[in-house]
């Protein structure tokens, strides 16, 4: 069952964080923010907070609160989730004169993000689209996985069973990587590879990663057929995979 607090954390820390990569990977997105100097504070009563900053052509999402030009307030996790579903508006507390950025550039950025996160078979035939879709989908899935492990009732049980250490998730060769830090039952997803992983999950190639992340082939078949390879302290991966199987429940 979808938990609203978990969903709000996923929306901020897993979905919105993709802006960081989007403006690096997508030329249109990069152009949209090349002159932007703005920081947007998202604050949820009884829920998460995040600061989304655009500066020097780059984007950064930080957990918590910081110095902002625009502050958007949500009365509850459910309120934030409705906004992400296009069914509610935030309460602007600060930056009323800057709402132009929200209505124009930011809306276009979210459209670009949606474009990459909602693939079609036709779009996936384009190798560059497939590459960006894979990176953004992987980020979304594994950052969401961490939030499920930290917040969802069943997710916390499986997160608590992951022994301490770093899990690298990567695409073999020169493909992108991320890693999951597990410490005493708390999880943190981090972009890039850990230098000292205790367990590794690697995809044979970007097509294999894309197929699994987009639900075209299940993870167990990938493991069985060798398109996903695992090594190291397998109980970490076993429980991470149980969390991964909860992700579609939140992101479908």
């Amino acid at each position: 069952m979808k938990d609203q607090l978990t969903m709000s954390c996923i929306n901020l820390y897993a979905v919105l964080q993709n802006m960081e990569n989007l403006v690096e990977l997508d030329r249109d997105a990069k152009l949209l923010i090349e002159n932007a100097e703005i920081a947007i504070q998202f604050a949820v009563r009884g829920g998460p907070a995040a600061l989304l900053s655009f500066e020097n052509g780059r984007c950064r999402l930080q957990k918590g609160k910081g110095r902002s030009n625009i502050s958007l307030y949500f009365t509850s996790p459910e309120h934030l989730n409705k906004m992400f579903g296009g069914k509610a508006n935030p309460i602007p507390l600060k930056g009323l004169t800057k709402t132009g950025f929200l209505k124009n550039e930011f809306t276009k950025l979210t459209d670009r993000l949606t474009y990459y996160l909602k693939p079609t078979d036709e779009l996936l035939k384009n190798p560059e689209y497939l590459r960006i879709n894979t990176i953004l989908t992987a980020n979304t899935a594994f950052f969401a996985l961490a939030e499920i492990g930290n917040n969802d009732v069943l997710g916390r049980l499986n997160a608590g069973r992951i022994p301490d250490g770093d899990i690298n998730v990567s695409i073999l060769g020169e493909g992108p990587s991320l890693h999951l830090k597990a410490r005493k039952g708390r999880l943190e997803a981090v972009k890039g590879a850990s230098s000292a992983p205790r367990a590794i999950m690697s995809f044979a190639d970007i097509e294999a990663a894309n197929g699994m992340l987009n639900g075209k082939v299940d993870a167990y078949t990938c493991i069985a057929s060798g398109t996903i390879q695992m090594k190291g302290f397998l109980p970490m991966l076993d429980h991470m995979n149980k969390l991964l199987s909860q992700v579609p429940e939140y992101l479908k």
Partner: protein, 422 residues
């Protein structure tokens, strides 16, 4: 030494993936984390004999998994298979069961020290689940104390909340304690007076991915007394250890008497039968429960079981397996040492667990095991291994040669890296 390739295995596996979820499900398949990397392992066997099996590519393996335990005498044992063939001519799955069921029950009662009766089923999980039902029926209670990390099968009560297909109600009557921690058991019993039906455990701690641990001195004797004093049924899951430690049962080996004992793997050398043995005090509870299956009274496995147990007794199999297991594991430890590695061996030598230490990721161990498998010594990475009676000194010697070469390969290899091809 040549290394194996697995083209036909892969072909068959691709066929299987189309029509069987994960190709090979469960512990014999590649998704349960015991075949790392999967590319080092065969998937399908073509035939088996004695201590060996041959895969579909024709590669021969000295099998130290023994089908995860059932192969105790050696594959295709002539005496066991002859007894099974003879019974098959007479009848197998019949409306009125063959009286051979009584013969095997009598043999079990004569063999297992604590047993006053025997109840047959098919798999280990059938009898561990039945043991809980018996305990609940006998006590009128519903709670069970289990040891964290122990494996008792795949029924919902044996799994964990948060696992696919498991509801909170499936595990809501379970308490979990650490192995060898008597105080935790005692505290739960004190905090829940009159609620605990059963304490169930394997006779010693043999989980996957962890060094195995024998019971601390006095542990089982204290548990026995606690259970007796509080009307709790003491059930031992001897599915894996049964007849590899002691023909009289693993409770006998560790010097205590269980109320219920679950057997399976070593009863019939691969023919499918499991057994719950119990004391007279629980006979009425067993009788009161409707519990059965379509093939549970089939006669052929009973004939195989009789032949197998008799032969195990003649060979003094547990002693033989422990002796040979010790010979092999001491050799493996020495071989590792010769190459500058430390191999830790735990558990009872007839079903030992091993790992290369100084690497808590276990990747080094996985690489060494993979090199052994590709040269014909079938080990899994993180499950206890098994000895069978057909393993000879020559097999052990050859295994040590394989281990030696695998260590040489390991020593020459650069350290594993994030993007290394596994």
């Amino acid at each position: 030494m040549n290394t194996y390739s697995y083209e036909k295995n892969q072909e068959q596996f691709m066929r299987a993936l189309k029509v069987i979820p994960t190709g090979i499900y469960g512990h014999l398949g590649p998704v349960e984390g015991c075949f790392i990397p999967t590319s080092a392992y065969p998937f399908f066997s073509q035939r088996a004999n004695g201590a060996y099996f041959w895969d579909v590519d024709g590669n021969r393996f000295i099998d130290y998994m023994c089908a995860y335990g059932p192969n105790i005498l050696g594959y295709n044992d002539e005496d066991v298979d002859a007894a099974a063939a003879e019974q098959a001519k007479a009848g197998n799955c019949t409306t009125a069961p063959s009286s051979i069921v009584i013969d095997l029950a009598e043999l079990m009662v004569d063999t297992v020290a604590m047993a006053d009766w025997t109840f047959f089923a098919k798999n280990g999980g059938d009898v561990t689940s039945f043991a809980l039902m018996v305990a609940k029926a006998a006590t009128g209670r519903k709670k069970t104390i289990l040891v964290k990390g122990n494996y008792h099968g795949v029924a919902p009560w044996t799994q964990k909340l948060g696992y696919p297909g498991i509801a909170a109600e499936d595990v809501s009557n379970n308490f979990y304690v650490d192995w060898n921690n008597y105080d935790q058991v005692e505290n739960i019993v004190k905090e829940h007076p009159g609620e605990i039906a059963c304490f169930m455990s394997t006779p010693y701690y043999h989980p996957v991915f962890a060094d195995n641990e024998l019971p601390a001195p006095g542990y089982w004797q204290k548990i026995r007394k606690l259970c007796t004093d509080n009307g709790i049924v003491l059930a031992i899951d001897d599915v894996r250890c049964g007849f590899r430690l002691d023909m009289a049962g693993s409770d006998h080996y560790f010097g205590f008497k269980a109320d219920l004992m679950c057997f399976c793997k070593a009863i019939a050398n691969g023919w499918n039968v499991s057994a719950l043995c119990g004391t007279d005090a629980l006979r009425d509870a067993v009788s009161s429960i409707m519990y059965t299956g379509s093939y549970w009274l089939s006669a052929v496995p009973f004939a195989a079981g009789i032949a197998c147990i008799k032969k195990l007794k003649e060979l003094n199999a547990p002693q033989m397996l422990i002796k040979n297991g010790r010979k092999l594991t001491e050799g493996l430890v020495d071989t590792a040492k010769n190459h500058g590695y430390k191999l830790t061996v735990t558990g009872v030598p007839s079903m030992w667990y091993m790992r290369l230490t100084e690497d808590d990721s276990l990747m080094l161990h996985q690489e060494w095991v993979a090199e052994c498998v590709k040269r014909g010594a079938f080990f899994t990475n993180h499950h206890n291994l098994f000895m069978c009676c057909a393993i000879t000194d020559e097999d052990i010697s050859h295994t040590l040669d394989i281990a030696d070469e695998a260590f040489k390969v390991l020593r020459k290899r650069p350290p594993t890296t994030i993007n290394s091809v596994i």
